[in-house]
Assembly symmetry: C2
């Protein structure tokens, strides 16, 4: 999105907003036009049809922070940070659920997940697989360095990722009803503390002596 004040960009934003709120199918071109302040027919000067808007939304998901938990850094550079890295990732999830732009994208993704095969492919490969794979490399390296106990790195990656995703979903859901998200928000940090405490190498008690 280059010109954030161009009409095309306004249409895109309005559409994304509405898709996330009520779903692609339930959103009408008239509504989109209304929110932009133009006639419905004028949209067709910028997008071939309704589906073309949807396509652009899905395409833009890829460059979103929603997806790039590791911000293009490699596990090798990161794993030495230990618990701080996990805290950072956990915080990314939290920020995503509170940032207006990314939470809309997340809500859109969950809305349309079962309606759009292309989106499912994207979710699977870019959101789930890519991040879990990177996470499992991180854990593998941590094991080698004897920072954490040896187990299945892929399992650890899933076990770390899953609650973050779930809590994110909780927050976005609660926000949809304007309910308080305070309790849910604390779970991001608690999860990381709990998780790290359980996987880190315990000092062989002093009592061993």
């Amino acid at each position: 999105m280059k010109k954030p004040n161009g009409t095309k960009e306004k249409i895109y934003s309005a559409a994304l907003q509405l898709f996330a709120q009520k779903g692609y199918k339930a959103t009408t071109m008239r509504e989109i036009g209304k929110q932009v302040g133009i006639q419905q027919s004028a949209i067709y000067n910028h997008f071939k049809n309704k589906e073309a808007i949807l396509d652009e939304v899905i395409e833009n998901l890829a460059s979103s922070h929603l997806i790039n938990l590791f911000e293009n850094k490699e596990p090798k550079e990161l794993y030495k940070k230990g618990k701080a890295l996990l805290k950072h990732i956990s915080n990314m999830f939290k920020l995503i659920s509170y940032n207006t732009e990314t939470d809309t994208l997340f809500r859109f993704m969950m809305q349309e997940l079962f309606n759009n095969e292309r989106l499912r492919v994207f979710y699977n490969e870019e959101f789930y697989q890519k991040n879990v794979k990177k996470l499992s490399i991180v854990f593998f390296l941590m094991m080698q360095d004897e920072m954490i106990e040896a187990t299945d790195p892929l399992l650890l990656a899933n076990e770390f990722f899953a609650p973050l995703f779930f809590y994110q979903l909780q927050i976005v859901r609660l926000k949809a009803d304007n309910k308080s998200t305070a309790a849910a928000a604390t779970l991001f940090e608690k999860h990381t503390d709990f998780f790290w405490d359980k996987i880190k190498i315990k000092e062989k008690n002093n009592s061993l002596f």
Copy 2:
């Protein structure tokens, strides 16, 4: 649903199927009628309108296994089973994602979660809160009995619940594309093993002596 072969029940099933597949809004009365083998207009002899079918689906969610993880048993009767109880619950989640009826309900729930406020209330109170509350009582009792280490029972409940939900979502999503669910399916048991291992009271090593 009393008469599984009555027309009303056929309509209900066809509608639920379609709602779960393509969403409520995208499902047409004509499609429902076609799948039942009657004219679209005949549906109105059994349901006031399209929304009435939706209402009935949401109502029936309450009695589904999807929700009643504890099968109406109380934490007090159950907690002594220890790890076996967690295995049982984990297995419930797994079964739900593979049973044709419940996986449709789950998919429907995820489809419409952000479109239907009543469904969100239901999800929050009956699916999430109720089960997490029961789980946290279970963990609390386990702590009292010194089966597991003392921490925040509510955190434990969330940490146990969240991955099960996530893996369930993974399976239902993979099934939507006819992809293999084998790898994801193993995570239910691995999660429980991992989780129990981390929370159970460790034998104070022989080495203490």
